[in-house]
């Protein structure tokens, strides 16, 4: 179990309790977090669960696969803090993680 905080494009915060083993995308969708679409269902194939990770957390996340890198490269407004939420699995170590969601996904 981990507490994850999502901050949307206008600065509104929402903290959820996410189950270990689920993906951050699924946890967000289940908790109706605005700004996360997850069209492909978690296959790293659409980049509509694009999030910006709070800088202090970047090194504590598993590394990006080549596929995630190539999908992020085409995502709108992606930068060095960008990740796809479907590619990160929730665990106790992620307790306190802070993520920023973009204005919209496409």
């Amino acid at each position: 179990m981990a507490k994850i905080t999502f901050i949307d494009f206008s600065g509104n915060e929402k903290t959820i309790e996410a189950e270990n083993g689920t993906s951050l995308m699924q946890a967000a969708v289940d908790n109706i977090i605005p700004g996360i679409d997850g069209d492909c269902g978690g296959a790293c194939a659409c980049a509509t669960c694009h999030v910006h990770v709070e800088a202090s957390w970047l090194n504590r996340l598993p590394p990006k696969s080549d596929t995630e890198r190539s999908m992020l490269d085409l995502a709108e407004g992606s930068d060095e803090n960008s990740r796809l939420a479907c590619q990160i699995t929730v665990s106790d170590e992620l307790d306190g993680l802070v993520l920023h969601t973009p204005e919209a996904q496409h």
């Binding site: 679409d37 069209d39 492909c40 269902g41 296959a43 790293c44 194939a45 659409c46 980049a47 509509t48 596929t67 190539s70 999908m71 490269d73 085409l74 709108e76 407004g77 973009p102 204005e103 919209a104 996904q105 496409h106």
Partner: protein
């Protein structure tokens, strides 16, 4: 089930598997392809067809297999020099180099040049304009008399959108629709009786667009697609073939697809009156209905890839150089991936979980613009005609003879006011 559909189901059940050719455009024109796809999904989901109008090809028919091909661009190439992204190898317009028919890194550079035009920030700017035009188009429709929905609504609105995206001369905008039809037409349709006839019109398109390009190059950067391409380091030095290819990609991509979803949505509501009633009782379902319409219509029935190496898919051995067709139209009816996939349901839990936009690096760049156009259309329709079956399909739709563009030439309707 209609008589045609019953006959199709019988034919699809009895034909030997190896004789099934789902790419036969006639199946799409008479809307009988689904029975064949259902059989392939069940009995031979990765299927080889040795002989067809467009030569031998593999069919990938299940959602999960399509996803794995679409996301594996290292093995399944989109490159135009191998045949590009449609089954039609001999269509010189469809096999031009264009960014959808490129592999990385060139694909990424060119795609990124145009993607800002359909990014959320720009869509917010376009919304008011799209709504005004939709209102004007709907307000000019005849009531209590028959008309063709495809022409007066779908083609009208998508042509206006495309002209805006290109900064195209308004009075000539019908040319865009014509070039789109010509680029994807099977020989013998849309007045195109040979490849030479096709390319004659396509070269007119090239000349016209080149004139606009030259104007843009010599002006300050503007917000339209031509200007974006003309002023980007990634695209300003495109070869003439690449220029024309990308023009056609953007014309077809922004036109046929949304057009046919605008048409297919109305037909789906008429064929599913309970859903039409559900919508009228609760217009807040428009957002999820739009995604369901795009799934249900699947305006591009397939995308094609070419194997770059020997590989295996669903237990079948695919050889280097072979043509692999991902049938989005079939994967979108795969009940292993989508619950009640054969039903049109406007309030699904995960409506965007469909294949119509593709997945992976070639996923439709204009997907959210398409959704926006469709959402505004149905919002404005319901404001004017809020009752179920008020826009009534009064005759048999005329479908396009193509296994690539799954669409309509005409849908006769009457607005009962």
């Amino acid at each position: 089930m209609s008589l045609t559909q019953e006959a199709a189901a019988r034919a699809a059940a009895s034909i030997p598997l190896d004789e099934i050719d789902v790419a036969d455009p006639a199946l799409f024109q008479n809307n009988t392809m689904m029975a064949y796809f259902a059989r392939l999904r069940k009995e031979d989901p990765v299927h080889y067809c040795a002989k067809s109008l467009h030569g031998p090809y593999w069919s990938v028919t299940r959602f999960a297999d399509i996803m794995s091909v679409d996301t594996n661009h290292q093995v399944f190439s989109s490159e135009s020099r191998f045949g590009g992204i449609t089954i039609m190898d001999n269509n010189a317009a469809a096999t031009l180099p264009m960014f959808i028919a490129m592999d990385p890194p060139k694909h990424d550079e060119q795609r990124k040049t145009v993607s800002p035009i359909v990014a959320p920030e720009n869509l917010a700017k376009l919304e008011g304009l799209i709504r005004e035009r939709t209102q004007a188009a709907l307000d000019s429709l005849p009531v209590n008399e028959p008309f063709n929905w495809v022409e007066k609504v779908s083609i009208n609105l998508t042509t206006q959108m495309l002209a805006t995206l290109f900064g195209f001369p308004w009075e000539d905008r019908a040319k865009l629709t014509r070039w789109s039809d010509v680029a994807t037409a099977e020989i013998g349709t849309f007045g195109i009786d040979s490849e030479e006839a096709r390319m004659k019109e396509i070269h007119e398109c090239a000349a016209y667009m080149m004139k606009l390009w030259n104007e843009r190059v010599n002006s300050e950067p503007g917000p339209d697609l031509l200007s974006m391409l003309a002023h980007s380091d990634n695209t300003r030095n495109m070869s003439p073939e690449e220029f024309l290819g990308n023009m056609l990609l953007l014309i077809v991509g922004g036109n046929d697809t949304t057009r046919n979803s605008m048409s297919g949505g109305l037909l789906a509501l008429n064929e599913n009156p309970d859903e039409y009633r559900k919508l009228c009782a609760n217009p807040s379902l428009i957002g999820s209905m739009v995604s369901e319409i795009i799934r249900w219509q699947t305006p591009l029935a397939h995308m094609r890839r070419t194997a770059l190496q020997d590989t295996e898919l669903g237990g079948k051995k695919i050889k280097k150089g072979e043509k692999v067709v991902m049938w989005y139209v079939s994967g979108n009816r795969d009940s292993d991936a989508i619950e009640n996939a054969d039903s049109f349901i406007i309030d699904r839990a995960r409506p965007r979980h469909h294949l119509s936009f593709g997945f992976g690096i070639h996923r439709c760049v204009g997907n959210r613009l398409a959704e926006l156009q469709l959402r505004i259309l149905w919002e404005e329709v319901l404001k004017r005609w809020p009752n179920p079956m008020q826009i009534e399909v009064i005759g048999e739709p005329k479908r396009v003879f193509s296994s690539f563009v799954k669409g309509f030439e005409a849908i006769p309707v009457r607005i009962n006011a």
